[in-house]
């Protein structure tokens, strides 16, 4: 699980991009606390061919990405 809570833009996207470049995972879960960052990352990973689902985790959001 990648945790990008508390990071200001564009760090959430930078972090997720780095993880994808490094491991090219088929599945990845990312924890967010900011809807704007969630939107940005969702748009980016959708463009890379991932299917996404958002799960609410208390005050946070978990983005589940699958190829």
């Amino acid at each position: 699980m990648v945790d990008v809570r508390g990071l200001l833009c564009p760090m959430p996207l930078v972090t997720v991009r780095k993880e994808i470049e490094k491991k090219n995972p088929d599945t990845l879960e990312v924890l967010f606390d900011e809807p704007g960052a969630l939107d940005n990352v969702t748009r980016f990973v959708t463009g890379l061919g991932y299917k996404t689902e958002v799960v609410k985790c208390g005050p946070d959001f978990k983005l589940v990405m699958k190829k």
Binding site: G6, R17, E34
Partner: protein, 357 residues
């Protein structure tokens, strides 16, 4: 062909329109909104500096923060957070302000100046983009000011409460404050109208994450041009407004509250661009984030206010051209900008995280 993101185009257009309206209602030319100039005016109004022509408690600043607060609460997204290198953010904010006041405007006013035909702002735009590119290199190398953490709700509202309290006090007991009788600080849209317009703009800017630095940054880093649409929309609508109102005047010379010291306009805004990337957003975005509960952005704004006071107390700010003088950035201002670059280089180097395997 990228799909146009209409909400951010509308928000950018709203900012451009609001700026033209505020200018028509009394704000200085090409200064419907200017986060740097207005924070400097507030620093003057509260007697943190004594430049008599730039002192006024600008309602627009209060309105932007309040609008972001209202929209974030209404969207159930308000969340008080802090702890991401606040002292570093204070210093970044101060030097961003010093760079902006050398040029005579924040990135938003740079676009508004360009929309008024001021070609000096075009040189500054190149500098701003160059500074953002340097910031992007830092991000790609692993720069981070670390994460913020949840804090008590009250912590996230400190800037809003302080600004609102002082604004009310400035209306109730104006004699406590310093208000300009001539110069840009004396040119004002009616306070409550300016406040209301800024509340609407602040709400829209929060909802769409409008950021003057983010558009160029995301374009370079991710080929994501969503935020850039807002940046361009500010320019387009303000340009149309200025042409309709007969206020468009193309050229370098004779522009309002401006100078043609191109090298230092370029370098001043390069400093702003670099600092804005390190901070995670332009001065407007810092105000909006602060309104939505981000204590670190509130500290960056406080740094900007202190930076503005330093700019005028130490003679660092650019001087506007007049009939008698060419204006420009003096020796002290030039040294301050160079120091700013050194400080940003040190901050960048100290906060680049080692890449993990």
């Amino acid at each position: 062909m990228k799909k146009i993101n209409w909400p951010i185009v509308l928000a950018g257009g709203l900012v451009g329109l609001a700026a033209v309206v505020l200018t028509a209602l009394g704000n200085p030319a090409n200064m419907g909104f200017c986060i740097a100039c207005f924070l400097r005016d507030i620093a003057g109004a509260t007697k943190m500096h004594s430049a008599a022509v730039v002192q006024y408690f600008r309602p627009e600043i209060v309105g932007l923060v309040l609008g972001a607060f209202i929209m974030s609460v209404a969207s159930k997204e308000y969340r008080a957070k802090a702890g991401s290198s606040p002292a570093t953010r204070f210093v970044l904010g101060a030097f961003v302000m010093i760079g902006a006041l050398a040029f005579l405007g924040c990135p938003l006013r740079m676009m508004l100046r360009l929309a008024g035909g001021d070609l000096n702002a075009l040189i500054a735009l190149f500098g701003f983009a160059a500074g953002i590119a340097v910031g992007v290199v830092c991000l790609n190398k692993g720069f981070s000011l670390k994460r913020a953490y949840d804090v008590g709700k009250a912590e996230g509202s400190v800037l809003l409460v302080v600004l609102t309290g002082l604004f009310i006090l400035s209306l109730a007991v104006p004699a406590l404050f310093a208000f300009s009788e001539k110069g840009p600080g004396s040119m004002r849209a009616p306070a409550l109208v300016a406040l209301l317009i800024a509340v609407v703009v602040g709400a829209a800017a929060y909802k769409t994450r409008l950021c003057m630095a983010g558009g160029i940054r995301d374009g370079i880093m991710f080929k994501d041009f969503r935020l850039l649409f807002g940046f361009v929309a500010v320019f387009a609508i303000a340009l149309i407004g200025n042409i309709v109102l007969g206020k468009f005047k193309l050229g370098f010379a004779g522009q309002p509250v401006a100078h043609s010291d191109h090298v230092w306009s370029f370098l001043g805004m390069a400093l702003v661009g670099w600092g804005s990337v390190l901070l995670g957003g332009c001065p407007l975005r810092q105000l909006i984030l602060a309104g939505a509960g981000n204590g670190d952005s509130a500290v960056a704004v406080l740094g900007m206010i202190v930076g503005a006071a330093f700019s005028h107390n130490f003679g660092l700010a650019g001087a506007a051209a007049s009939a008698d003088a060419a204006g420009g950035v003096g020796p002290k201002g030039r040294v301050a900008i160079i120091i700013g670059f050194i400080v940003f280089a040190v901050i960048s180097a100290m906060n680049i995280q080692k890449q993990e395997d």
